[in-house]
Symmetry: C2
Subunit: 152 residues, 2 copies
DNA sequence: CAGTATCCGGTCTGATACTG
DNA sequence: CAGTATCAGACCGGATACTG
């Protein structure tokens, strides 16, 4: 077990984890990102899926665009006029591992025994894929052998 | 890129990811868990580190105990009377990969170019460790080769 | 469809004070 | 230390209505 500490080794104001939490760490933002990672892109699709008040959705989408996680693009269906859609940027796509890890945690700890409704598999081999930690050679490293190193 | 979808493949109410978000997905809870994963355990240590109102802290710690992420234990310093401390349960410890992945994302995308203040290394080899996805044999799998499979 | 405008009521925040 | 009590104000959620 981790030894007791009076404080974290990194002050809050320079902690990238803390910044990440400030950026995406609220209920609606996380739920929007969950949907976005599943491919949802349009205002009304988000609204229907989440039953989120339109004002709140508008605000959150705006902030996610500001922070560079979503990009507001135009799409055009034949005959109709162009409409906006919110597409994940590279930064947004990079959140996928975070959500996969959280999904795994949910499966393990808040599922009430229900089987996972989805799983992640390798496209070709169909083998199950799970989040883990690897060393520089791409070999799995056990959590218990992992340490935090402070940069000096 | 992920194709556009009208809705997520999993309804919100049976989605373990959504449940996980409901459980730990708010600013203060995430910041408390960050500190806890760094070893912080005591009420006043949390309070000082986060500058969180005592009432709010009290509420959040209570909820985290309820949901089985923290456990309220007693510690005793010599001469003094026993006092409570909040220690991560197995479920709480299991959140570490989630926070490591989020730290990595923060380093990559919200750091404003600053070098990461901490890094994760293998206890023995001192090699850097990063979050990734592995197949059943512990071999790294590229994100782009990963698919979501729906259980039927 | 994709928003903005408005409004109300509730919860959360943050400050301060008090207790064992 | 580790909380609970109290309180004003900010912010958020939810509903409804209106616009291009």
């Amino acid at each position: 077990m981790i030894p007791r500490a009076q404080k974290s080794p990194v002050p809050l104001d320079i902690c990238h984890l803390a910044k990440a939490i400030e950026t995406i760490g609220d209920r609606w933002t996380l739920l929007i990102l969950r949907a976005a990672l599943f491919g949802v892109r349009r205002f009304d699709d988000f609204q229907k899926e989440l039953s989120i008040p339109r004002t709140v959705l508008s605000g959150r989408l705006g902030k996610l665009v500001e922070t560079g996680i979503l990009e507001k693009q135009k799409y055009k269906e034949d005959g109709k006029r162009a409409r906006p859609e919110y597409v994940l940027t590279e930064a947004g796509e990079a959140l996928r591992p975070v959500f996969m890890a959280l999904t795994q945690w949910g499966d393990d700890w808040v599922s009430d025994g229900a089987l996972p409704p989805i799983s992640f598999t390798h496209a070709k081999s169909r083998q199950k894929v799970r989040p883990a930690f690897v060393d520089e050679h791409g070999r799995e490293t056990l959590m218990k052998d992992t340490r935090v190193s402070l940069r000096r």
